[in-house]
Amino acid sequence: MKGYDLFELAVRNLRQSKLRNGLTTVGISVGVASLVAMLSLGVGLQQLATRRLAGSGMFDTVFVTSKQDFRGFDREDDQKTEHPENAPVLDEPARGAMTHLQYVTEVEPEIRVMGEVVSGGQTHFGFVTGLPMSARENEAFDNLQGKFFSGPSAEEVILLNDFAKEIDPKDPKGLIGQEVTLRYGERQALAPDSESAGRPQLSGGAVGGSNPTSGDDFGFSVVRKTQKLKVVGIIEEEPYGGMRTVSRGRIFLPVDLTEKLNMAQFTDMRSSLRGGGGKTYMTLTVRVKDPAKVAQVQDAINKMGFRTFSVLDATKSLRRFFTVLDLFLGIFGSLALAVATLAIINTLVMAVLERRREIGVMKAIGASDGDVKRLFFAEAGAMGFFGGLLGIALGFAIGKAINVGTGIYLHRHQLPAEAVWILPPWLIGAAIAFSIVVSLLAGLYPASRAAKLDPVQTLKYE
C-alpha cells in the first residue's frame, strides 16, 4: 500500500472514534507539553545563567601574571617552577605576543592608580581605573547614564554613582557633560644626572639605588600632573564586580588614555626592583573571542612561561550541573508521556478488537499482514504527530505562563524581568519526533496483534 493511502486510511479510521482517539491524542499532548515545559525550563535557566555570567565579563577572560610576582600564590606551581626569578616578565614584547595569539581580541594592562578629581574648588580622592572599549559589553553598563567613551584615548571620564554623589550630592547626574580636572602622579624616567637637573620631584617619590653613580642604578620620579576630562557617564556599579583588583575603582578612564598619561602605578615600584628599565605589567587581562577558546588561549600563554587564571573551571561544573538538571527535568517530563503511551496501547488494542471483521475483510480483498500492521502503525504515528503538535502549543502556553509568573514575582522584588523559559526551535522538532517515535513504539503490540488476526476466524458468519 502506498504512503498516501496508508495515511488517508489511518486518518479516516481515527475519525471513526473521534472521542476516544481525541482523548488519547490529548493525553499524548499533555505528555509532550510537560516534557517541553520541563526541558525548555532547563534550557531557559541555563541560558539565563550563561547570560548573567557572560555579562559579568569573567568567562571570556584570562588573567596573566608573571611567575616572578605573587610567589606563594600557587604553591604547587611554585614547586614546579625551579627558578621563578628567571621566569619571563610581563613586558611590552610579551604583551604584543599575546595580542597576536589566535582568538585573542584584546590584551589590556590592569591600571589602578590613586587620583583626585577637582571640581568646584573641592578635591575628591578615588582610585582611577582604565577600562578597555570592550567593557561596554559588561553588564555594569546596562544602565549607564549618559554615554560610553567615544574612543580608546578620548579625554573623557565615567564616574561611579557614589563618587558623583560625593562631588555633587544634590544633582549627581548634572555632572554629565561638565568638565572636571583629574590630578594624578605621572611617572617620569630619571635622567642619569637627575640630581642636578633640578626638575620638580615629589619628595621621596624617586626610587632608585642608594648610589646613583652605580651602573646598576635605575629609577623614576613621580610628578604631579593635571588633566582636564569631560564627564560622559555615570554607572551604578563597578564593571567586572570589582573582582579584578583589590581596591574599588570609582573613576574610569579609557585604558589607552591612562597609558598615554603614563600614570605612576604601585606596580612600578616592583618593576623598579627588577632593573632593566623597561616598562612591565603586574597583570594583563587577555580577552578571548569565544569562552570556549579560553582553555586554548590559557595553554598558549602558559607555554610562554606565565601564570594564568580563568574561571573556566567554574563554567565546566556549571555545565555539568545543567546536564544533570536537564536529565531530571526530562525524566519528570517523560512520566506523563509514559502514561500517554499506555493510553495509545489501550486505544489501539480496543480498535483491533472492534475492527476484527474489518481487518479480516481487508485481508480477504488483498491486504497483506504488513499492510495491516502499517495501517495501525500509521494510526499510532498520526496520533503521536497530532499529539505532538498540540503538546507544543500547550507547552508553549505553560512556558509563557511561567515567564509571566516569574516576571510578576521579580517585579515585586524590584528586579528586572528575565526569560527563565525558552523554547528553542530544535526542541519543537525533537518533541514532535519523540512523540511520533514513542507512539510508534506503543503501536508495536496492537499492530502486530492486528496483523496476526486470522481472516477465516474473523469472517465466519455469525
Binding site: 493511502d5 480477504a364 504488513g370 458468519y461
Partner: protein
C-alpha cells in the same frame, strides 16, 4: 500460464488430495479430508453440502485465506501451499475476487470507497482509480447513490457493491460464499444472473458455495457435492 506452449493451459483450479484439519478439544476436526478437484477456466462451479460439510473451508483454501494441512491447491499452475503469506496476499488482491453472504462491506466507507479499497492494496495509480471504480459499478448495474454508506442500501444493492469490489482488480477467479443467503429469492436470482453473465463476458472462473440446490442447478455448469469434508459426487448441469 507457466506451462509449455505445446501443452494444454493449466486448469483454473486443481486440488490434489487436499486436507484441512483443525485441532479441537483434544481431537481434530477434518474440515476438508482429501479432496481432489479440477475446475477449468471460465467454468461456473457450485459447491453443495450441509453446513459442516467443508465447502466453506475448501473455498477459503482456494482463496488463499487458509492453508491446507496436506495436499496441494494449484491455481493456474501455482501451488498456494508453497506461497509465503505476502505472496498469498498478492494472489488474493490480483487474482481472486470474493463475495460473502454477509456482504462484508466496510460500514464507515461510501460505496465508491469500498470499491476503491482493493485498488489501494494493489497500489493502482490514483488517476486510474475513479474510472475503474465506475467501470466495476457499471458492470454490476449500480450508477447511483455512490456516495452513500452501505447501510443506506438494500441487501441486493449491497451484494452488488460487494461484487463490484470483487471485480475491482479484474480477477480471474471469483469465489462466492453463499452470495444469496441474505437475500430474498428474487434478488438472489438477480445476483446469480449477474455473476453468470460476468463469468461469460469476462471469461472469469466462478466457484460458489451454496446449500440451495435448485438455484445451483439453474446457474452453475457443474455441481460438486461434499459431505464430512469429502467429495461425494459431481454432476454436470445440462
Amino acid at each position: 500460464m507457466n506451462s509449455l506452449p505445446s501443452s494444454k493451459p493449466a486448469p483454473a483450479v486443481r486440488t490434489s488430495d487436499v486436507c484441512r484439519y483443525y485441532p479441537m478439544g483434544g481431537g481434530i476436526i477434518r474440515a476438508v479430508d482429501g479432496i481432489s478437484l479440477t475446475i477449468e477456466r471460465g467454468e461456473f462451479v457450485a459447491l453443495l453440502g450441509q453446513s459442516g460439510s467443508g465447502k466453506s473451508t475448501l473455498l477459503n483454501l482456494l482463496a488463499g485465506l487458509d492453508r491446507p494441512s496436506s495436499g496441494s491447491v494449484m491455481v493456474q499452475g501455482r501451488d498456494l501451499a508453497k506461497m509465503s503469506s505476502e505472496e498469498l496476499a498478492a494472489y488474493r488482491r490480483n487474482d481472486v475476487g470474493m463475495v460473502f453472504q454477509a456482504f462484508h462491506l466496510i460500514p464507515s466507507m461510501t460505496i465508491t470507497e469500498n470499491v476503491e479499497l482493493p485498488m489501494r492494496f494493489a497500489e493502482v495509480d490514483r488517476a486510474e482509480r475513479g474510472e475503474r471504480v465506475r467501470e466495476s459499478l457499471e458492470q454490476v448495474g449500480l450508477g447511483k447513490r455512490l456516495e452513500h454508506r452501505p447501510s443506506e442500501l438494500s441487501g441486493g444493492e449491497q451484494q452488488r457493491v460487494s461484487l463490484a469490489r470483487a471485480l475491482a482488480n479484474r480477477p480471474s477467479l471469483l469465489l462466492a460464499d453463499e452470495p444469496t443467503g441474505n437475500l430474498d429469492s428474487r434478488t438472489g436470482e438477480d445476483i446469480l444472473n449477474l455473476i453468470r453473465d460476468l463469468s461469460l463476458s469476462l471469461g472469469m472462473t466462478v466457484v460458489m458455495v451454496t446449500h440451495e440446490r435448485a438455484l445451483a442447478e439453474r446457474f452453475a455448469q457443474r455441481l460438486v457435492f461434499l459431505a464430512d469434508g469429502k467429495l461425494l459426487s459431481q454432476e454436470a448441469v445440462a
